[in-house]
Amino acid sequence: MSVLQIKRRQEPLFIWGSCLIFLGAIVLSLGISSLLLLIQDRPPIQGLVLLFQGAFGSRWALEDCLVKAIPIFLCSLGVAIAFRLQVWNIGAEGQFALGAVGATWIALNFGTLPAPLLIPLMLATAGIFGGLWGLIPAVLKTRLRTNEIITTLMLNYIAILILDYLVYGPWKDPVSFGFPMTEVFSDSAIVGSIGATRINWGLLLCVVFGVMVWVFLRFTRLGYELKASGENINAARYARLPYERLVWLVMILSGALAGSAGFLEASASLNRLQPSIMVGYGYTAIVVAWLARLNPLYIGIASYLLAGLRVGVEHIQLDLQVPAAFGGIMEGLILLTLLAGSFFNHYRLVIRRAP
């Protein structure tokens, strides 16, 4: 008789082991998803091949992935800052919505300003709106001990309904034939594309913010305090780290980053505000942040991959009439399998013969 035993590893697994776990998780998720394709009478292998081709098989597709990766990256960067402090900000979706609302408010009211003035103003307003939306759960958490997971989530629903209210009501374009959308932004309120590509200048914003967050987390005292407090709140309190102000700060930053993504989507991708701006980037951002282990560089890579998943799913949606929810299934599966796989980072299984 032999028994399987679990042993804690003395030191964490090296990088190749982690890559192996990542690959294993992806393969397992793909396997389960292809079964789901089979259930609905779709060719499983062909479906996955089409998904991959649709995402990464042409220049057009690769560009499309980058366009979608921009908002996911910004939201995820914000989520990661909060998660570092063990503040569970599930509210990127709502902060994104409020950012879009803030930017639209500026675009509709000050549309005649020249672009060099208007674009930064829109960005700043989106950041402030998103940041304040993030500050609400932060204050509730530190002052009244309200669980931030639930408040951020509820504020998502409320933010989306605010957006709906505005585009169905006061901001509705009078010549939209009843469709819920604002009028098209003026030219100076639209963030343009880089050269002849379809990629907007938001990419530059991602690079700038990404580097800033990386430097902040790695090289500043505040960034260090964030990490220390996140790892052990009691020790941080003992060391007199300003936990309350840290929570407020990360939630404002987190919300501002998601808000800036909302601004870019409204300005660069849609050129107006309409309900279809909400496609769940804020939730994908959580998956990305966790896949990337909260590291800004890995967040870039993971954002691109999950944007690819979205593009690929759109592709098989058209080709094979696969419901759009297929992408969500894969996101959930990848996260779950990776979560389970991380077990092997810290533990190993030993087969031992019983005496």
Binding site: I6, Q40, L140, I150, L161, G328, G332, L335
Partner: protein, 306 residues
């Protein structure tokens, strides 16, 4: 508002509170065992679809509810596998479960959107339903509502007086001591997750089989998250969960009536009510809480033993 309308509103309150009540009770059982399951929303969605499909195929709503409960347990079992088996982070696993469950229900349910299945309809209880005021409010509902009248009391008795209830609470309050005393702590956590998932699944099945009678996407609309909030509001007590669930049922029913009456308020503002109320209620409950009434090791995984 006439008294007749008020009675109708109260009856609708009970009905819309029922799915939330089942889900809240499920989450209470799970959390009592020390496991935080944030997948309620996804589990409800899967329960709703499973219930709908089983009732459609077998023609029996009872089979539907059972299928909803079992599939709820199944999805909750994934959470158990990740957290109890593989030491995964409970918060993230729960979120992933919500993403997965919601998408799974929308994916598999797409061909059935707009279709209906045999569901539950009101069965007035003899004698009781004739009592003035109370009769129409409480005793002219479907069987699942009557079930939800009994469930909180049964769960309370089970938790407080049975040996299994004690084991479950030990797994959430002091697992080390429990394990030292020979109590199968991990087994109790599994039981908490699966039993809780069953109730959440029933809550979901209620939505498709008794509430809307029709399959649509996004049926749960945040009710799972409201249930998570209500567990805190209820201080982990089944009795208080009843109060919380009917409070929300009331707001949802009231909001629907206002819309139906054509009140001159944009529907998006009315729809905010339950979500805003969740934040308010949760904050009030968190302020009132003396000490920490949550199970002592809620959300913390147990180190596997050699």
């Amino acid at each position: 508002m006439t008294s007749e309308m008020l009675i109708l509103l109260m009856a609708a309150t009970i009905q819309s509170g029922t799915p939330i009540l089942y889900a809240t009770l499920g989450e209470i059982i799970t959390e009592k065992s020390g496991v935080l399951n944030l997948g309620v929303e996804g589990i409800m969605m899967v329960g709703a679809l499973a219930g709908f499909l089983a009732a459609k195929i077998t023609g029996s709503p009872v089979a539907g509810v059972l299928a909803g409960g079992l599939c709820g347990s199944l999805l909750a079992g994934v959470h158990g596998l990740v957290c109890l088996g593989f030491q995964g982070n409970q918060v993230v696993s729960g979120l992933a479960l919500t993403i997965l469950g919601t998408a799974l229900a929308n994916y598999l349910g797409t061909p059935y959107v707009g279709q209906n299945a045999p569901g539950f309809y009101p069965v007035p209880l003899p004698v009781l339903s004739q009592v003035p005021v109370l009769g129409p409010i409480f005793f002219r509902h479907d069987l699942l509502v009557y079930g939800s009248f009994v469930a909180p009391a049964l769960i309370w008795i089970f938790m407080k007086y049975s040996r299994w209830g004690l084991g479950l609470r030990t797994a959430g309050e002091n697992p080390e001591a429990g394990a030292a005393a020979g109590i199968p702590v991990v087994g109790y956590r599994w039981a908490g997750i699966l039993a809780g998932g069953f109730l959440m699944g029933i809550g979901g099945a209620y939505l498709s089989l008794a509430y809307t009678h029709i399959w649509t996407t996004g049926l749960s609309a945040g009710r799972g998250w409201i249930a998570v909030a209500l567990v805190i509001f209820a201080f982990w007590k089944p009795g208080r969960a009843v109060v919380g669930a009917y409070l929300f049922g009331g707001v949802m029913a009231f909001q629907l009536r206002l819309q139906a009456m054509g009140a001159n308020i944009p529907s998006s503002l009315l729809l905010m009510l339950p979500y805003g109320l969740t934040v308010v209620v949760l904050t009030l409950a968190s302020m009132r809480q003396r000490g920490d009434q949550a199970p002592a090791v809620l959300g913390v995984n147990l180190e596997p033993r050699d």
